[in-house]
Subunit: 202 residues, 2 copies
C-alpha cells in the first residue's frame, strides 16, 4: 500500500479519477465504489477520503472529465463543417457516438445526483454551459433574428430530445417497437426540428 | 403471516403488484425489494416466489400496470381534441404529467432490464405498441401520404425526444442551463417537430 506522501494531493486526485473511469468502463455504474478506486491506485480508502470528501465528490470530478471529453468530441464534429445545419447534424451524431462508446460514464452524468443540500459548484455549471454554447452557435446562424431566450430554449429542446433518442436507443427500449437505428432517428429528429426552427416561432 | 391458501394465486399476484406500486411511490426505485413486498401483503418471500419467478418478473408486471395507466392518461388527452396537432400536444403534456406524478414507476420502466437471456413476453410488447399507435394516428392524419415506415420512425422520434425532455427536466438536469419549464420545452419541441413533419421528408 503506497504511503500518502508518495504522491501530491493533486496526483492522488488525478489517479483516482482515472481509476474510476477504468472501473466504470469495465464494470458499469453499479461497479463503482471508493473501495475499488482506492485498491486500484494502491492507497487506503482513508487516503481517498482525504482528497475527496466522499464518493459524490469523486463522481462530480469524473463527470467533469466526461463533459470535457464530450465537449472535445462535439467541437471536433462542428469543426468539420461550415454549414450550421451540417454542424448540428454532426454534433448530434457525435453525442450519440460518445454515449455509445462511453455508456457507463455518459449514463453516470444523468443518474448521479448530489445530496439535496449540496449545490453543484460553479465550475461544473460553467463546463455544462460551454457545451450548450456549442449548440446555440449554429442555431443562431440558422435563424439570427430571435430573442436570446429563444436560443437557450431551442438549445435545451434539441439537446434533451437528442439525449432521449440516445437513451432509449442505447438502452434498447426503442427496439420494442421495431428495428430502427438510433442514427436514423437522430437524423430525422434534427432534420424535422430544424425545418420547424428555421420558420421561426409562433 | 397469512397462509398461502387464504388467497388465490391471482389474488396474491395482484396484491403484490399493488404493494410494489405503493412502495415505489413512497421509497423510490431503490426502495423496492421482494422482502418489503412480501411483508406488505402479509406473506413470506417464499410464497411471493411461488407466484413470481423473481423480482424481475414482478417488476415486469408493475411496468405493465404503468403502461396501462400511461395509455389511459394519453388516450384521455387525445380524446379531448379533434385536431391531430392538438392531440399530439395534449398527449406529450399528459406524458410529462404522468412522469412527474409517478416518477419512480415511470423511471422503473426505463431503468429496468431483464437478464440478457430472458426475452420480453409478447403481451408486454403488445402493450407498448398500443401506446405508440396512439401517437402514430394523429401523425398519419397530419401527413397522410407517407410510407408506413415513416410513421413508425416519426412516432419513435417524437416519443423518445419528448421522453428526453421529461427525463432531463424532471431529473433537474436542465435547470443547469437556466430556468425553463419542462412544459414550455415540450411545447416548443412538438411545435417545431410538427412544422418539419408537415412538410414531409427529404
Amino acid at each position: 500500500m503506497a504511503r500518502r506522501n508518495d504522491h501530491t494531493r493533486e496526483e492522488i486526485q488525478h489517479m483516482a479519477i482515472q481509476a474510476a473511469i477504468t472501473i466504470l468502463s469495465r464494470e458499469g455504474v453499479q461497479g463503482l465504489s471508493t473501495r475499488k478506486v482506492a485498491a486500484a491506485i494502491g492507497y487506503t480508502v482513508g487516503t481517498l477520503y482525504l482528497v475527496f470528501k466522499n464518493l459524490d465528490e469523486l463522481i462530480l470530478h469524473v463527470n467533469a472529465a466526461t463533459l470535457d471529453e464530450l465537449y472535445r468530441a462535439m467541437q471536433a464534429a462542428l469543426a468539420k463543417h461550415a454549414d450550421p445545419r451540417l454542424q448540428l447534424f454532426a454534433m448530434a451524431q457525435a453525442y450519440l457516438n460518445y454515449a455509445r462508446g462511453h455508456f457507463a460514464r455518459w449514463s453516470l452524468m444523468f443518474i448521479h445526483h448530489l445530496p439535496a443540500d449540496v449545490l453543484l459548484p460553479t465550475w461544473f455549471h460553467d463546463k455544462f454551459r460551454t457545451l450548450l454554447v456549442l449548440v446555440a452557435g449554429p442555431l443562431r446562424q440558422i435563424n439570427p433574428s430571435l430573442e436570446p431566450q429563444a436560443y437557450q430554449q431551442a438549445t435545451q429542446v434539441l439537446w434533451s430530445s437528442v439525449h432521449g433518442v440516445c437513451e432509449l436507443g442505447l438502452n434498447d427500449k426503442l427496439s420494442l417497437a421495431g428495428e430502427i437505428r438510433a442514427e436514423d432517428l437522430i437524423h430525422a429528429l434534427v432534420q424535422n426540428y430544424l425545418k420547424g426552427f428555421t420558420q421561426g416561432w409562433d
